[in-house]
């Protein structure tokens, strides 16, 4: 690629470092990419300034989904917050439940039974597969391959069936509670989950053949959307975005939680750091999650309690303290910072979603000098979910 942009067309920088864009000159055009656009990830938008078909500036706008989750929780008792926390991330809600429950357990001294740890790990891996399946459909869709989304939605639906029989709900499960999980596995669940995993395997193979070997997909994604490994710490990049840049960051391995220290796996790492590599890392991550689920089903203790005894949750007061609990979700490091003041309500809850850094500072930097037609694919390749940003 020897293409060099014609810099004479570009605006000069003002003293404060911002671009001096004169929209009346006829050289530049403002273009809103979103919030209603098929190539946008959820309800957010990017205000693009383009020169010809090249982006010279992008500003991310969020706030379309803001419901003030963190503030709402300050007026609710600890247990009343559970219907709220899961709604902070639609495609992978279980991480909110786990992080919030684990933070409460740590500050209140509740000890979770062993079997509940295994069931929690299983749920988080099932959720991860669901989230990645949605991503694969979106990434292919951003480049015109609609059929991939249909296949992944089919197999995600099967996984939602498993969630439904386990938790009674398909999307927002509210199954992980302080002290453990709400119930034990239904009879025959392991066999039905194994059957679903076989379907995931089959679809994953088809996706690999049709999406990742497709010439158009390769031409449009290899070498596009490069993330420099040096940016990883500067921008707080985590998860597959960092691993595709050759930085083996995976909370499951680096800072093991639940039962990940008893499972055999190595984080998927690659070095291309472009859209293609990030998609491929996520595809391989699905395969790893399938393998982890099989390990969990084989190693999980067959009997034992799944819930610890709790105090009366309606009058539960937690002593003053603060903690941070993290986990590796499909987009990177997900965490809850919980502050308590000895009352019945949380003093402050702060959600650390990986999209917060990926979709804001990182995307605004990466989007400069890309072509308009690559903006959608680039955004999707960062795998961002706006509710995590505005909470």
């Amino acid at each position: 690629m020897n293409y060099q942009p014609d810099r004479s067309k570009y605006p000069a920088k003002k003293a404060d470092g911002t671009l001096d864009i004169d929209l009346t000159s006829g050289k530049y055009l403002k273009l809103w990419h979103g919030p209603n656009h098929p190539g946008i990830t959820g309800n957010m938008s990017v205000e693009l300034t383009v020169c010809g078909d090249e982006v010279i500036e992008g500003k991310v706008h969020v706030g379309y989904l803001h419901r003030g989750f963190e503030k709402l929780m300050e007026r609710r008792s600890f247990i009343q917050c559970f219907p709220i926390v899961c709604r902070i991330c639609v495609p992978e809600p279980d991480f909110n439940e786990y992080c919030y429950a684990a933070a409460i357990e740590e500050l209140s001294g509740v000890v979770v039974p062993e079997r509940a740890h295994w069931i929690r790990t299983m749920i988080l891996e099932m959720g991860r597969i669901n989230s990645y399946l949605m991503y694969l459909g979106g990434q292919a869709g951003a480049l015109g391959q609609g059929v991939i989304g249909q296949w992944t939605t089919y197999v995600r639906d099967l996984m939602l069936d498993r969630f439904e029989e386990l938790t009674g709900a398909r999307i927002y499960h509210m199954f992980i509670l302080p002290g453990g999980v709400r119930d034990d596995l239904p009879e025959g669940f392991k066999d039905r989950l194994e059957a679903t995993l076989k379907e995931v395997d089959a679809v994953l193979k088809d996706v690999h053949d049709v999406m990742f070997k497709n010439a158009v997909f390769k031409r449009r994604t290899i070498g596009v959307g490069y993330i420099d490994p040096a940016w990883v710490d500067e921008y707080g990049i985590t998860g597959p975005n960092a691993r595709a840049a050759g930085v083996a960051k995976d909370v499951r391995k680096d800072q093991p939680y639940l039962v990940y220290d008893q499972l055999d796996f190595e984080p998927v790492v690659d070095h291309g750091s472009d859209i293609y590599t990030r998609a491929d890392v996520r595809r391989r991550d699905v395969a790893m999650s399938v393998d982890l689920l099989r390990q969990i089903l084989a190693k999980m203790p067959n009997e034992g309690p799944v819930m610890a005894k709790l105090p009366n949750v309606l009058h539960w007061q937690i002593p003053r303290g603060e903690t941070y609990i993290r986990g590796e979700c499909s987009r990177g490091e997900y965490g809850f910072y919980l502050v308590t003041d000895g009352s019945r309500f949380p003093r402050r809850v702060n959600v650390r979603g990986p999209s917060y850094t990926h979709a804001m500072t990182l995307l605004e930097r990466m989007i400069v000098n890309t072509n308009i037609s690559d903006v959608a694919a680039l955004m999707v390749s960062l795998h961002t979910y706006p509710p995590e940003i505005e909470r």
Binding site: G17, V62, G63, H66, G68, E70, K71, L72, E74, R75, E106, D233, E234, Y235, G236, K249, D254, Q255, G321, E322, T323, Y324, R326, E333, G335, Y337, V339, R347, R348, N350, R352, Y356, T357, M360, T361, L362, E390
Partner: protein, 177 residues
Amino acid sequence: MHKLYENLGKIIPLGEMTLQRANLAFITLDRRYLRSALHHLRDVEGYSHLVLLTAVDWIEEDVFQLTYLLSNRTADVDVGLRVMLPRENASMDSIHDIWPTAATYQRELREMFGIDFPGSPRVNEEFILEGWQEIPPYRRDFDTKKYSEENFAHREGRVTKDPASHMKELLYPDRGQ
């Protein structure tokens, strides 16, 4: 963690340390020493990952607590630096030159808590809210219930009925009560 506290204490004066668990501690320090502490932790101690930057409103004590949470991934340890600011005209030094990603956190804190970070890029631009005229909404003295009652029309809740008598009336209307 105690070793880190000792090392850091040799360079700058520190407040109390709360050891939350073996690999997570919170250290209080004066705002004047924050940037030196962050530089030392990032460049010498290996805390290269800024996990989050957020605020807690301790309105009874008339202070905001800013929490800078840093992580050393290779050693699996986290440290949170707590800086207390007076609530009146709260302002803090920006750290966007140490971690560029901090600019987003600071922009949000400016909007949601009213804490200023002079020099931080786009800190005064609207982040999530649009045309907000009230006090910053994540402050404890902002009353969400009062705000919604004043700004949104009242909507009747769902009508609830006793399930037994409701179904009896629905299925057997001629049998009476």
